[in-house]
Amino acid sequence: MENKKLHSVVGLFSTPDSIIHAAEKTIEKGYKHYDINTPYPVHGMDSAMKLKPSTMGYFALAFGLTGTAVALSFMYWVFNIAYPLNIGGKPNFPLPALIPITFELTVLFAAIGTVLSLLFVFFKMPDNSNPLHDTDYIKHCTSDMFGLCIEAEDKLFSEAEVKDFLAGLGATNIESIYYPKINTLPIFTKNFIIFLLCSAIVVSGAVYFVTNKLMFMTPYNWMLNQDRINAQAPSDFFKDGFGMRDAVEGTVPRDFIPEEFKASPDSAGTFLINPLEMTDAVLAKGEAKFKTFCSPCHGNYAKGDSRLRGLFPNPPTLHSKKVRNWPDGRIYHVITFGQNVMPSYAKQLSRDERWAVINYVRSLQRAFNPKEEDFNESK
């Protein structure tokens, strides 16, 4: 027993007045490493112990402001950078609507941050190895008496003197507290490693089951197995066997303007004028549309070399003199109303898109039948 290291000498007091008095005397005596243990906060003890005011308020402020900043900057990033999306005609950074979440996160950050730093940084908890634990002293201090504990670390400490001092203050149950024998931590024992392995297997198994199996069982899979018709798929629901439906006969789009010169291609050639310029943007658009809608039959370069490998009659080349000499309006008429086997592309291509395709076709024609000056220019 005697070779144990001394931690402190403690004494108990029974009234709040006596413990306040004891704290004042301890300060007077000059002890620095001492503590008061009480079952509840005793008013006036902070000033009796001459403690500095708590700084937890600054922590709360700092954590709270962090929450504010995180919330606002994150929402700004989502709404303006990650996925800009206009909601309800409000600006993309609608501050009043962001205040509720900003406020909540401010409180959340402040509360969690303050409490965690209090318990684990300030109090250095969990602290179950303190020698005071499991002594009669602490059992009284968390229940019905007020304790004064003067630690051996203190410069002025001397066991006998402190005991006299405590007795002089009227303390009861004065005793010396020793450090307990320190055992090594049993982390690397066999049982603990087996426990870790087992929990790893259980956790990963559960995660695998939930994400790969459970989510595909009834009722979780009910959204996957719906009675619906996929695009392009046949269906016997309708007489014609098609799954996809055309618009009802006579349906007119909202901004519909009737096409002129229906049966008179030559007038179309005479009167319709291409409104678009030969710009890069127009040609890019024309190229995209041409590749999508025209090139399957007309070929990538409009040479009449279909990409359909004979599944549909090949149209003639567009580089013929006839087509090169057609006015834009004439080609427009073909796209709009179709010609021979070619159907109308009015539904697929808007007016501007049709003119853009024509411009692109013109540029192809020019590429395959260049003029003299084109060569000069390229030099």
Binding site: Y40, H43, M45, T114, L119, S143, D144
Partner: protein, 460 residues
């Protein structure tokens, strides 16, 4: 009896010693459950089971099992959600707001009320989670990087709810736990049972009651109370935004935020008061949770009840004053339309019956306050019903008007929510100290040092 205003009435009667407090509050944790407890928990567990069955139906067949129809897309689910969140508010009000106001009478009831807050918010949280229809996909409510590049709509009040309710739950739980640490230390040093000793040792983090700790602890408790106060206001404010930012007549009105908060506190206090009446009887806490405390709670009930009444009147008046015909129709329809029965239950329970508390005798009579407390909760449930259902069932398009009728599954979930709440509460009373041991000791007579020796001498 003539009240003497010159002395402060102690919040604890009979001047018990610290040891007696320990034993009294520790008693339920150290004895096995008795017959009454088992009867009570079997009732609540059966209610919970009813709810579980209804929940099973809702999950397996989908929320088509509920009575919600086309215009009335919010039925019992949202009514129950708002009701239970409201119940939770009283707990935070008692533990945080009354703490800031230094109302000592809160000491005996704060822990229990905080517990109720946590369980009420847990119960409430179930409903919006279920209401999404596929609750196993609810993780999308929390913004996280995902392979659809989907982010949540931060401007939606429904998302604000997600943040508000989860923040509220977390902060309440932290607040509650911080308060429990010294009590766990007390239990740790009292218990003779080995397993309990280990549990309490872990949960108390090695608390020693050091005054160096108490100082920061009290500061943090104050800060937490300071944060919890606006937080509790914000939660029901945001719940009210769910309704009020829309343009549905009867929903879009600017008084909703304070009105909802007052209503929440109102119903919450009624619930806490009811539970406390039973608790003090069963555990013999009559001298800790005194009749004075209950009377004060009744006063708060009458204040908040009158605020709710003020809001009803204001809404009605402005519905007329605004000159907006849809708005005026909605209010006339509430009072005299299909749901008039619900409306008048609401008005009588919320505004008329609590007025009985103006009479001191009734305010201090246990049976009367028990009945009025129950009526207030009935009334407040119907208030949410009236707001949610009447406005939706008669919206702008008369061709789509419809009457909402709840189904058995709806009823099962409502019963189940009560079952869940009370089951948790019963378990709480047997596993944790329902009165804060440290705080109640601090307000016992003679527990604090005498500040001014000279004055106290001629004072006493």
């Amino acid at each position: 009896m003539q009240t003497d205003y010159t002395v402060e009435t102690s919040v604890v009667e009979g001047n018990p010693s610290f040891k007696q407090i320990d034993e009294l509050i520790g008693a339920p944790l150290e004895t096995l459950p008795n017959r009454n407890f088992l009867i009570a928990i079997s009732i609540t567990a059966s209610m919970l089971l009813t709810g579980a069955i209804a929940l099973g139906f809702s999950l397996y067949y989908g929320i088509g099992m509920w009575g919600n129809n086309n215009p009335v897309g919010w039925g019992f689910d949202i009514v129950n959600f708002v009701f239970w969140v409201g119940i939770g508010h009283a707990g935070t009000l008692i533990s945080a707001i009354l703490f800031l106001f230094r109302q000592k009478w809160r000491t005996g009831i704060a822990r229990f009320a905080e517990g109720m807050t946590i369980f009420a918010v847990m119960t409430a949280g179930l409903f919006p989670a279920l209401h999404t229809g596929r609750p196993w996909l609810d993780h999308y409510l929390i913004p996280h990087p995902n392979d659809h590049s989907l982010w949540v709509n931060f401007t939606s009040p429904l998302l604000w709810d997600v943040f508000a309710v989860s923040t509220y739950f977390i902060v309440s739980a932290i607040f509650w736990y911080v308060g429990l640490i010294p009590d766990f230390a007390n239990l740790r040093d009292r218990t003779k049972n080995k397993i309990k000793k280990i549990v309490y040792t872990i949960t108390s983090f090695g608390w020693r009651g050091s005054n160096r700790h108490w100082q920061n602890y009290e500061m943090v408790y104050l800060i937490l109370a300071g944060f919890a106060t606006p937080l509790v206001l914000s939660v029901h404010t945001i719940v009210s935004f769910d309704f009020a930012v829309s343009i549905i007549p009867g929903w879009h009105t600017t008084i909703f935020p304070p009105y909802f908060v007052a209503g929440a506190v109102f119903s919450g206090f009624a619930m806490v008061q009811n539970c406390l009446i039973l608790l003090r009887k069963v555990f013999h806490y009559e001298h800790i949770i005194t009749l004075d405390t209950l009377e004060k709670m009744n006063k708060i009930i009458i204040v908040t009840g009158s605020m709710v009444g003020y809001a009803y009147a204001m809404e009605f008046f402005i519905a007329w004053y605004s000159g907006n015909s849809a708005e005026a129709f909605t209010f006339v329809n509430r009072a005299f339309g299909d749901y008039a029965w619900a409306y008048w239950i609401m008005v009588s329970c919320n505004v008329i019956f609590p007025q009985l508390f103006w009479i001191k005798k009734l305010r201090r009579s246990i049976p009367v306050m028990l009945v009025i407390g129950i009526l207030v909760n009935v009334g407040m449930w119907f208030e949410r019903f009236v707001i949610t259902v009447t406005s939706l069932s008669r919206d702008f398009l008369p061709s789509s008007w419809a009457y909402y009728k709840p189904t058995l599954v709806d009823g099962g979930l409502l019963i189940g929510s009560f079952g869940l709440f009370f089951t948790l509460l019963l378990i709480f009373t047997k596993t944790m100290p329902v009165v804060s041991i440290a705080e109640i000791k601090a307000v016992l007579p003679g527990a604090q040092p005498t500040h001014h020796k000279a004055e106290s001498n001629n004072g006493k």
